[in-house]
């Protein structure tokens, strides 16, 4: 055995793209990446979407997803160049020497088979263990990963465990055949922050105890700082910086890495409440049609003109339901909503055009919030036409003004959504909301689907626009860093109730209730040793357990 387990040299990966109306052509998406990984070490691959990090991860199993082809370079695993191996040898490699943990465990498990069958499958298939040995090993791994009832959890089906538990089951699956290398592809990205901590800790301990080496792929530098020994920063298929974790976090050399480390540096002075709130949510209790379970219990919050109220909570806390009640999509069972001095009809149908105009919404997924068959000009122009009756040159002038406000400019007017990047799409959605000249905009997780640097730009734009247009935001998010950056008031929601409510400084300073404490402490911080500290100081179990 050499002292390097995985040796990647000058790896080049290409793909074929099919631009509409043009001939298909080959492009290179990874341009010569090299790194080494010693047994038992963890290398973090970090970068924004499109950086090629997942592609590199899969290449270490000699695999290219979709139309992706490995076009050059060498990948040595245990002293063999696997890119030159025959298919049979690669089959023994995958699931034997190298295993993989994907981002969405829910989409990766077969819903029709029991968890245990799937966890032991690779180990038995590779003849590493007998079925019995593999099951015993799986149970030991379940226990090590902190899953409840490790002896019997394997008899359940994937839908019978929570998302965080399933992600840990997948880690057990990957570790079961005693691999030398595990590729973790964004294993905690889809989880709530408090659950993320548990999974991270479980992964970290499992790596330490089994002595396996790992590639840890993520876009979140704070997360990777907790589990890695080395970090490689990637951008557009190139290595930006590669070094020990301590150096990357505390002393980054490259400008791009410095930007990643210092992201979320927006400062926002808290504004104090003015007399009249623009929106008052009073004693709202709501449930979905046909269910016997209240998703919101007696919610009371106020939003003041030109200010931002952040509604924070994890999935299932009822924060998006609150948005649906305010917009009239879900009439509440009890309570009322006062907006701009008048009581709104609980139902969308009963609202006047003026009500609708003054209350706009921006969605999490800009992709599906815009009609893919309409141009940017049509998308932004429609509210102008609909609410203000603008036509022709007048409308076009106003569309261009709005495009300038969102820093895109006139050349975007004839583009289709598919021709825009994620951040640009979200900007167009913001322009569409602004076009109605609203008093208030509901922002539902508007930055969650974006890369950190792009998200930062969007938040800055929103704050800028708030100053100019004097619009109020109801900002729904699970991300506390975002909340710190932009809010004036904060409502922390937990299981359909407002757990804590008040000005930003008040909500974010002690004494905390247990849930807020858990939530605040779960936000990954960009320093070494943070993870262990948090786990040691916890007062409350996370909701994932």
């Amino acid at each position: 055995m050499s002292d390097t387990l995985l040796k990647v040299r000058d790896l080049k990966i290409g793909a074929t793209v099919y631009p509409p109306g043009e001939k298909p052509r080959d492009i290179e998406i990874v341009h010569g990446v090299s790194f080494d990984l010693a047994p038992g070490k963890v290398l973090g691959l970090i970068g924004e979407s499109g950086a090629g990090k997942s592609t590199i991860g899969l290449a270490s199993m000699a695999y290219g997803r979709g139309g992706v082809k490995i076009t050059g370079g060498e990948v040595w695993v245990n002293g063999r160049d696997i890119l030159k191996s025959k298919l049979g040898d690669i089959r023994r490699l995958r699931g034997g020497e190298v295993t993989y943990v994907s981002q969405s465990a829910a989409a990766s498990f077969n819903p029709a088979k029991k968890i245990m069958d799937q966890v032991v499958e690779a180990a038995v298939e590779q003849k590493k263990f007998s079925r019995k040995e593999a099951e015993a090993r799986a149970r030991a791994l379940f226990a090590k990963l902190g899953l409840p009832d490790p002896d019997n959890i394997g008899d359940r089906y994937p839908h019978q465990v929570s998302g965080g538990q399933l992600q840990r089951c997948m880690t057990a699956l990957a570790l079961c055949p005693e691999p030398d290398l595990v590729v973790f592809d964004e294993p905690t990205t889809a989880l709530d922050v408090t659950t993320q901590i548990d999974v991270l800790m479980a992964i970290k301990e499992a790596i330490r105890d089994t002595g396996v080496a790992a590639l840890y792929i993520t876009h979140d530098l704070a997360v990777v700082a907790q589990v890695s020994d080395d970090i490689m920063v990637l951008k557009m298929g190139n290595t930006v910086e590669y070094g020990p974790v301590d150096q990357i976090i505390n002393n980054p050399q490259e400008e791009y890495t410095q930007a990643l480390v210092s992201v979320r540096s927006i400062e926002h002075e808290e504004k104090s409440p003015t007399e009249e709130p623009v929106l008052s949510v009073r004693n709202i209790t709501a449930r979905y049609k046909g269910t016997q379970f209240d998703v919101l219990h007696n919610v009371n919050v106020d939003l003041y003109p030109g200010q931002t109220l952040a509604v924070v909570g994890e999935s299932g806390s009822g924060k998006s339901t609150l948005a649906r009640v305010i917009t009239g999509l879900l009439p509440p069972r009890e309570g009322e909503i006062e907006f701009a001095g008048r009581v709104l009809s609980p139902d969308l149908k009963g609202r006047t055009r003026e009500d609708l105009r003054e209350l706009q919404m921006i969605y999490q997924m800009a992709d599906v919030a815009m009609n893919p068959r309409q141009t940017v000009g049509t998308i932004i122009g429609r509210p102008l036409e609909f609410y203000f009756g603008l036509r022709g040159a007048e409308k076009r002038k106003r569309i261009i003004e709005l495009l300038d406000e969102i820093e895109l400019g006139e050349k975007f007017i004839d583009r289709y959504p598919a021709e825009l990047s994620g951040g640009q799409k979200q900007r167009v959605c913001i322009a569409r909301a602004l076009a109605a000249k609203p008093k208030m905009i509901i922002c539902d997780e508007v930055t969650s689907a974006l890369d950190p640097l792009v998200a930062d730009g969007i938040l800055q734009l929103l704050l800028e626009l708030q100053k100019i247009e004097d619009v109020a935001y109801l900002f729904i998010t699970h991300d506390l860093a975002t909340v710190r950056a932009i809010s004036d008031n904060i409502a922390v929601m937990y299981q359909g109730k407002v757990q804590r409510y008040g000005g930003k400084s008040q909500v974010l300073s002690p004494p905390f209730d247990d849930y807020t404490d858990l939530l605040l402490n779960s936000v990954p911080e960009m320093r070494l040793g943070w993870l262990e500290e948090v786990i040691a100081n916890r007062k409350m179990e996370s909701a994932g357990n």
Binding site: L356, M365, A369, F386
Partner: protein, 271 residues
Amino acid sequence: MKNIPISALVGLFFTALYFLGAIFAPLLAPYGVGEIVGDVWEPSSADYLLGTDNIGRDLLSRMIYGGRTTIFIASAATVLSFTLGSVLGFFAAVMGGWVDQMLSRFVDLAMSIPTLIFALVVLSVAPVTIPMLIIVMGLLDSTRVYRLARAVAVDIEVMDFVEAARLRGEKTAWIIFREILPNALSPLIAEMGLRFIFAVLFVSTLSFLGLGVQPPEADWGGIVKENKEGIVYGIPAALIPAFAIATLAISVNLVADWVLNRTTSLKGGRG
């Protein structure tokens, strides 16, 4: 329009040929549709390229005029069924609730009766004219289109951009024609090709059974019926319309396939 695959080119060529033949039938046909020009079942010759039929009419002329009738009825019925079926399907998906229930259950009921028998019953009481044929075929076929349109629209209807249009206060007509229709077009167009072929087969079947286009008007199914006895004597006159129906079916499908591939590969880009 670059990079048209060879199969689509073949399909386009033959489809265009048939449609042009239908449009310019009076200019192309050497003889009149009911004109008796020769003996019974003459073999093909320089005068009668495809020979003559069971009472001595020129078969080529009857094929061209027959194609005109068949294609016209099938096209009109397809247009009717798509207009009706897709508008109602979208409407049901957008409104939901009892509107959707009523329409969908009614369509289920209509679909539970075999189409051919339904059509035969209706046409045996109603006057068999071309407009009547189009209406009956269009209405019966619209149930299939309704189901597809509703299924496609239900998926689109839950997208955020439709919700955004609702929150803006848009009317149902805007949501159907501006938000849903452009996004449902590609599966509908592919289905349209298929439905057109079914309509061709359907009208031919009806004519063959004597409840479709009435003599002396010609249509492909009718020509098969008139000449079917000839097969016993080795006369191929009945096979020619069958061949025409088959080639038209294949070429329209090749075109529909290509349209489907082209529009779906755009992944939500321009249509």
